[in-house]
Point group: C2
Amino acid sequence: MTPGRMIDHAGEWLRGEGPESDVVISSRIRLARNLAGFPFVNRTNTRQKHAILAACRERVTQRRIAENAVWIGIDDADALDRQLLVERHLISRPFANPKNSLPRGVALGADETFAIMVNEEDHLRVQVLRSGMQLSEAFDQIGRIDDVLEEDLDFAYSRRFGYLTACPTNAGTGIRVSVMLHLPALKLTGEIDKVKRAARELHLAVRGMFGEGSDAHGDLYQVSNQTTLGKTEEEILGDFQKTVVPQIIAYENQARQLLVKQREAQLDDRIWRAWGLLTSARVMGTEEVLQLLSHVRLGVNLGRLATVDIRTVNELFLLTQPAHLQKLTGEPMEPAERRVARAKMLRQRLKAS
Amino acid sequence: MTPGRMIDHAGEWLRGEGPESDVVISSRIRLARNLAGFPFVNRTNTRQKHAILAACRERVTQRRIAENAVWIGIDDADALDRQLLVERHLISRPFANPKNSLPRGVALGADETFAIMVNEEDHLRVQVLRSGMQLSEAFDQIGRIDDVLEEDLDFAYSRRFGYLTACPTNAGTGIRVSVMLHLPALKLTGEIDKVKRAARELHLAVRGMFGEGSDAHGDLYQVSNQTTLGKTEEEILGDFQKTVVPQIIAYENQARQLLVKQREAQLDDRIWRAWGLLTSARVMGTEEVLQLLSHVRLGVNLGRLATVDIRTVNELFLLTQPAHLQKLTGEPMEPAERRVARAKMLRQRLKAS
């Protein structure tokens, strides 16, 4: 499989049908694992990296993990394919960096619910990604993958610290739990800052899903745990799943109801203006498209706009990204050309929907 | 006739079909006349004003001027009706002012090509207003009206100064010639300031058609002569018609072609975004609607948008104004309600067109 074949649809995690999918776009769990007997990746030489890759490649694509897993050699992939995988949240940005020419690759489930990077910051980074609020399902799935891998591979483990990782913040369980949340109402009412402060006090990281820095383009926020040491996996997951996420969902839903009740005309105006621009513009940048899609998504979720379904909107968050856009149109483009192509694609997909 | 009956269409001058109507919305000529034997209006008492009105009312509505002229007593009209007439450019804003309770009125042609105000700044203000570049036709029409009036009424006239008027700047011919121009491309390219400077050097006044101050909402500019003394009517008209206006039209058309050639995608983007917002927004203010209509009008004129005709766009410049909007919906509304009603009316009229 080449990444190019993925382009005209989104993975399972953008299906938009999971529980609480009005607010929770997707649930993600990631484990960090390292092979005993090898230095951490940043301490290895090329020969050792090849050895790690050789030890892992067959293991991570085996049938017991998934029926139709595929292997993509990142050092062989072209720049656009790498960027495509980053946009789909299947590999990390540093892993895709073309300056990094060392042997590395990723195993992907055909439905993109899992991705296992070999020779990223750790020897193995296992990720499970599912649509909506499915942390328990993701936890079960990643547990099964971890069990299979552990049968075949000898992981670096300390009785005192737990799993050993290149960066101490990942040591212990090596687990990172996160959800991608769509919080347009908290953004519109200005309450998002309160939520961010509260999350920081709970030692959670809140960052924008798209775009660098603190700005969350498209009102999409990733909330994740920051510490993995001193708690069991179950405790980390439990706090997150039973307290933090439901609370943020409740705040967002309150804010949505407030907007409907107190600022109905302004709310509808935002939603429909976004629709008008998405279906009419001839030039469209990445930041703007995310903001407009966010407002349309809010409109669909609140039943105030029925001209499109959630799946189409979710997919457009992805398909309007630069690499996807270029893959879809079949040619590399300059930014100015991309803005024109993006506007055209939006009109086509939204008029047809 | 009450002004309310005019509301759901525009007068002849917004028909959008006259010569050069891509750029020239309308042509207007105005004459100032005063009755001999009465002081100017600002020096009259109420009794004298009644006498002037009595002397003029029958004359200005007589058949020889027009078949179906109507008389509207402005001191009796309600505030919304007065505002409606101001928005249609049939009476002046001071004339409509409710604080002015003195006897006054206006004779209107059924097609709104002429309006004769009695007891405005001068005893008589005669205006002819026609769509497109029709200054010669307007000049002929106003000449005929003036001739008829002069047969019955004794106008204050001096061999030395010509017609005498309340304000010296109107004395002489008492004529003011103006065109309403749509100059969106000169605005977009920033060259409008050059045109304004050049016009000022030719002793012409350039001002926005809608809105106070120097801003021209909707890119609609009124260009008019400032001096009426020392030139014949024919000279004033000739300069204006053969030199000034054709030059501005040529500049605007050059700017339009430049935009098509050098900034095609950006131009289409503006045009189509305007269309998207006009047909989608749920809240719409007066300034914004004029700007968006301006860009749509440019799009229609350049053949880049064919989802609406010019007449509908021209009419919407008028029908979205506050008094028209309230008359159309049949009830007085607060500004916030008007913004919602305006957006609704736009969607209805543009989807149906």
